[in-house]
């Protein structure tokens, strides 16, 4: 089956820094792919290329086999790629409904369709198995785990086929991590292609189908999550082992 998204031989330079060197990456429908690596491995750069924030200097990006130029974040959304970055991009003083539809409010004849947005908000939260009881509270009253859920729900509003999560479990408590990991499993069950970027190998290995390792801007291994040993992943991340080609380890 053709992968939803393929990145082939992508290079990215920032001034003199060769941030990505011929990186390959792919994600399919109903699949969670973990993307791991040390700081400055290039994970965020790759995520931003997929999200349309940066453009690659060389290489191809293909959507369902067809080459695309993701020229902007808006274009990424139109192509069905949603991204949830660490900084949340939420407004603290607005309520849950408003945050979900910020910038994409549903309007009928010039008036905000408040009821419809509220109904959809509850529907997305229910799909994610959320525990937020009141969609009218301001965001600042919610816990970090609940805010993460709102971020993910916001990404669902555009009906994406691919969702990129950048460090979704960073600075969360164990119980909140459990909630977010369940949301990620639900996204996979919904048939989305999920890219899970993170540092916590336990969390990623708990929900991923496959794990891709980046090291200093190039691929260093592709591992099936069910059988990959923690030690092998650490070796790939730290460079103790080298995997020159992306053939499954």
């Amino acid at each position: 089956m053709l992968p939803l998204l393929q990145v082939r031989g992508v290079h990215k330079y920032f001034g003199g820094v060769h941030a990505l060197e011929g990186v390959d990456f792919e994600v399919g429908a109903g699949e969670v792919v973990g993307l791991v690596g040390d700081n400055a491995a290039g994970k965020s750069t790759l995520a931003r290329i997929i999200a349309g924030v940066y453009r690659p200097d060389a290489g191809d990006v293909l959507l369902e086999g067809k080459p695309v130029q993701i020229a902007s974040p808006k274009m990424a959304l139109d192509l069905g790629i949603a991204t949830v970055f660490q900084e949340f991009a939420l407004v603290e003083s607005l309520d849950v409904v408003s945050n979900l539809f910020l910038g994409r409010e549903i309007v009928h004849r010039g008036l905000l369709a408040r009821d419809e947005m509220e109904r959809l908000t509850r529907s997305y939260l229910r799909q994610l198995n959320s525990r937020i009881p009141d969609v009218h509270v301001q965001l600042q009253t919610l816990s970090a785990g609940q805010r993460q859920c709102v971020s993910i729900a916001r990404a669902l509003v555009t009906d994406p086929r691919i969702i990129v999560l950048d460090e979704p479990t960073a600075s969360l408590s164990v119980a909140q991590t459990a909630e977010v990991l369940q949301h990620i499993e639900r996204l996979r069950d919904m048939g989305l292609g999920v890219v899970f970027i993170g540092h916590n190998l336990s969390d990623i290995r708990a929900v991923a189908d496959r794990i891709e390792v980046l090291r200093h801007g190039h691929n260093n291994g592709s591992f099936p999550a069910g059988s990959a040993k923690q030690e092998d992943l650490l070796a790939a991340i730290t460079g103790a082992a080298r995997y020159p080609s992306r053939a499954p380890a």
Binding site: R131, D134, V137, T141, S173, A178, D189, I204
Partner: protein, 391 residues
């Protein structure tokens, strides 16, 4: 203290009357509190769709019945009253640790599941990390429910059966052979920790709250990563047997992990199913097989049918020996419903000496993770506060 647990089926006033509407609305408020733990009155209104005035009246009545209590808090800079259900002061937490996930259930002495949590885990999760997280989750769950960790009297841990006797008995995960889970977690939490096999814990849950309640002799079969069984006599689980997974299903069959030949597990374990599906489907986890089967995948349905047939034969043998009054089939694979149960029922129906298989084989009516629910009951028992056997 009164534990308010209204049941929707027990309305004794005329439907449509003011009083019945009031009861229905009260039940909605209580259900919302059960689901979310602590809520302010505004949050209750939003979650139930009732007006703030109605919520206020209901909360006032529940307060007078001592079914709820309130604590002051702030919301958006304003003072608000947080409402939570009053719980009997003795709580217990059941922890079910499996190969790929951990489930926790917080219960009071009536075995009401106050709080539940599910955490996916990586394939070879380490005992120290996992038990550390179990301890943290225990504390977080206690806080979230409105109780505190000091209200948690005991903890129970349910894990898969093991072929070797470890520090906690014939129970434990593969790589955790020498780990004394009761000691490690007990020291970390400063509480008594009991350890039980997951199949025994599930059988306890069925015997106290589910389809084996009030049954003289019950057989519980858990179909998951492997097939296991527990026998319940007069509400008590009989301990000590290796389980139905090691019944000989094929005299000339494959070698089992126990060393024996042709055990039921060689036909029904997750490894056996994965082997059959490897060429067509690639690597599949148990949850993938369940999901695909529920979506009509023919390969997975065929494999599950074969598994059901093999288990049905084994259950028929056991039933002929012990004559149970009821048989419950549970575990992760039972989530495929009739796909697994029909071949078992048919295998039982083909035994003339057994009672009608339609009445003998009963479905589980409990939802959520029942292993953690059952082991929390065993934890309650261990502090000399036997959990309620009849509700």
């Amino acid at each position: 203290m009164l534990c308010y647990a209204p049941r929707m089926g027990e309305v004794t006033v005329a439907p449509g009357s003011q009083a019945s509407l009031r009861e229905a609305n009260t039940a909605r408020v209580v259900d919302a509190l059960k689901q979310y733990g602590r809520l302010t009155q505004v949050e209750i209104a939003s979650a139930t769709g009732l007006s703030p005035a109605t919520v206020s009246n209901i909360v006032r009545q529940l307060l007078s019945e001592r079914a709820v209590e309130t604590t002051a808090t702030t919301r958006s800079g304003r003072r608000a009253q947080q409402v939570n259900l009053v719980r009997s002061s003795s709580m217990a937490i059941g922890v079910h640790i499996g190969p790929r996930a951990m489930d926790l259930t917080l219960t009071d002495t009536t075995l009401d599941a106050v709080e539940r949590l599910h955490l996916p885990l990586p394939a070879d999760h380490r005992f120290d990390t996992t038990l550390d997280r179990a301890a943290l989750l225990t504390a977080e769950m206690a806080d979230a429910s409105g109780a505190g960790i000091s209200d948690v009297a005991a903890v129970g841990v349910a894990m898969p059966s093991s072929l070797r006797r470890g520090p906690n008995g014939f129970v434990g995960l593969d790589a955790w052979e020498d780990i004394d889970v009761a000691a490690v977690l007990g020291t970390r939490l400063g509480r008594k920790v009991v350890v039980a096999r997951e199949v025994d814990a599930a059988a306890v849950a069925e015997a106290r709250l589910g389809s084996l309640k009030g049954v003289g002799l019950g057989l519980y079969v858990r179909v998951g990563e492997s097939t296991d069984s527990a026998v319940v006599s007069e509400g008590t689980v009989l301990r000590g047997a290796p389980g139905i997974g090691h019944v000989q299903a094929q005299p000339a069959g494959a070698i089992c992990r126990c060393g024996g030949r042709g055990c039921l597990n060689t036909l029904t374990s997750i490894q056996a199913m994965q082997e059959l599906l490897r060429i067509s489907h690639g690597a599949l986890q148990l949850r993938d097989i369940v999901q695909l089967a529920n979506r009509g995948d023919r390969g997975c349905l065929q494999v599950i049918r074969d598994v059901g047939q093999a288990i049905g034969v084994a259950i028929g043998d056991v039933a002929s020996v012990i004559g149970p009054d009821a048989i419950v089939v549970g575990g992760p694979l039972a989530a495929t419903g009739e796909a697994l149960l029909r071949p078992i029922r048919e295998a039982l129906a083909s035994r003339p000496v057994l009672p009608d298989s339609g009445e003998l084989l009963v479905a589980s009516v409990l939802d959520g993770d029942i292993e953690s629910l059952g082991v929390s009951a065993l934890a309650h028992d261990s502090v000399d506060q036997p959990s309620v056997r009849e509700r």
